[in-house]
């Protein structure tokens, strides 16, 4: 097993899904959190951003999507075949793109509510409706390949992050709600949720 080091700020954000994949797979890694020393860490990253993943001390790999897809492939959480990997990819991309519009650090309460409403009405409702339909039609417990993939974990991760903004959003989508609850109660995921550092974002 390679040595993994995941570097991010001290928060959930774009590192939380990679961390959930490590947890689900039961794979050890260094969960490095940059606190005061960003100025000295930044030049070590390929593009001045986090997260980055190093494997066996090699060149850091940037872009949370690339990291997620890499870990999913390594940990057999990508469905196994290229078509299943592509379906998981498409669902993960659609869901994670929504988090680009999360109104983090919006202090004005009225503005915050407005931004959350716009995100839901313009984008999130459509994406989740489509994925809900797909899950319902498949009659499966899982989104892709009738087994656990990172697409399921991505939905759970999204719900976990979005509940800070609207904790009843997922109730509009009963199948996906049931799915994210099943993921959250998987032993390794539950253990991670219970023990992870409590952070602001």
């Amino acid at each position: 097993m390679p040595t993994y080091k995941l570097v991010y700020f001290d928060g959930r954000g774009r590192a939380e899904l990679p961390r959930m994949l490590f947890a689900e797979a039961g794979v050890k890694y260094e969960d490095f959190r940059v606190k005061e020393n960003w100025a000295s860490e930044k030049p070590k990253t390929p593009f001045g951003k986090l997260p980055v993943l190093t494997v066996d001390g090699g060149e850091p790999l940037a872009e949370s999507g690339a990291i997620v897809r890499y870990l999913a492939r390594e940990f057999d959480l990508d469905g196994g075949s290229s078509i299943h990997a592509a379906q998981a990819d498409m669902i993960h991309t659609a869901v994670i793109d929504l988090s680009n519009d999360f109104p983090y650090f919006e202090e004005d309460k009225a503005k915050l509510a407005e931004r959350v409403k716009t995100l839901e009405e313009k984008k999130a409702n459509l994406v989740f409706e489509k994925i809900e339909e797909r899950l319902k039609a498949s009659g499966s417990q899982f989104l892709v390949a009738r087994k656990l993939t990172y697409a399921d974990i991505a939905v759970a991760s999204f719900v976990d992050a979005f509940k800070d903004f609207d904790d009843s959003f997922i109730k509009k989508f009963p199948c996906l709600d049931a799915l994210q609850q099943r993921i959250a109660s998987r032993p390794n995921i539950k253990k991670w949720f219970d023990n992870r550092p409590k952070t602001m974002f």
């Binding site: 940037a62 872009e63 990291i67 897809r69 492939r73 078509i83 498409m90 459509l126 797909r134």
Partner: protein, 203 residues
């Protein structure tokens, strides 16, 4: 071999990199191009109401980046192992983000030129220099070395689409290593054939 159908508009845009991957691999596919008038009737067929979409034996894959990653994996253009695939993947995201900062909707010509110059200076040129640096470090023509991968084709496609759109197409003057990459990609048999035969498209 599955049956492939790629649906998009009659432009290069985000589908051209997919078409180039099929061309490189020499794999047949149905290259569907909907007109603006035809689109509303087909929109409900697409999972997220957008294109490009790739149908693989009737199964739908949406999102151009997911399609590119799938084709690169299928056609063995993803570097041969998961870490190389991840490096290509990373660059796919980086280039997508950098180039998506270009706004084509600005109508004031002077402002447009100024905005374009600023996006190139801050976001695009630095990424292109970095890509070139890695090509040189790996000692070949392409990102991973001597062997071409999907990301090089994405790079080629992006530059190809932009070069016709920008008033003076001078991007490659600053990037001699990428100029070589572009020339080499153009010569590859599957790609050369496609470039000769592809339908003319505005952008």
């Amino acid at each position: 071999m599955p049956t492939y159908k790629l649906c998009y508009f009659n432009i290069r845009g985000y589908a051209e990199m997919c078409r180039l991957l099929f061309a490189e691999a020499g794999v047949e596919y149905e290259d569907i191009r909907y007109t603006r008038e035809e689109w509303p009737e087909h929109k409900p067929e697409m999972l997220f109401g957008q294109m490009p979409v790739l149908f693989v034996d009737g199964e739908q894959i949406a999102h151009s980046r997911a399609i590119v990653r799938y084709l690169a994996r299928e056609f063995k253009l993803d570097g041969g192992n998961s870490l190389n695939a991840a490096k290509c993947d990373m660059w796919g995201e980086v280039l997508y983000e950098a180039f998506s900062k270009i706004s084509f909707s600005e109508e004031d010509e002077a402002k447009k030129v100024q905005l374009m110059a600023s996006v190139f200076k801050e976001h695009i040129h630095p990424k292109l220099y970095k890509y070139e640096k890695i090509i040189k470090e790996n000692g070949g023509t392409y990102l991973l070395g001597e062997k071409i991968s999907g990301i090089d084709i994405v790079m080629f496609s992006t530059l190809d689409v932009l070069n016709d759109y920008l008033p003076d197409g001078k991007i490659l003057e600053q990037h001699p290593t990428l100029k070589i990459l572009v020339e080499e990609v153009k010569k590859r048999p599957g790609i050369a054939k496609w470039l000769k035969e592809r339908p003319a498209a505005e952008y």
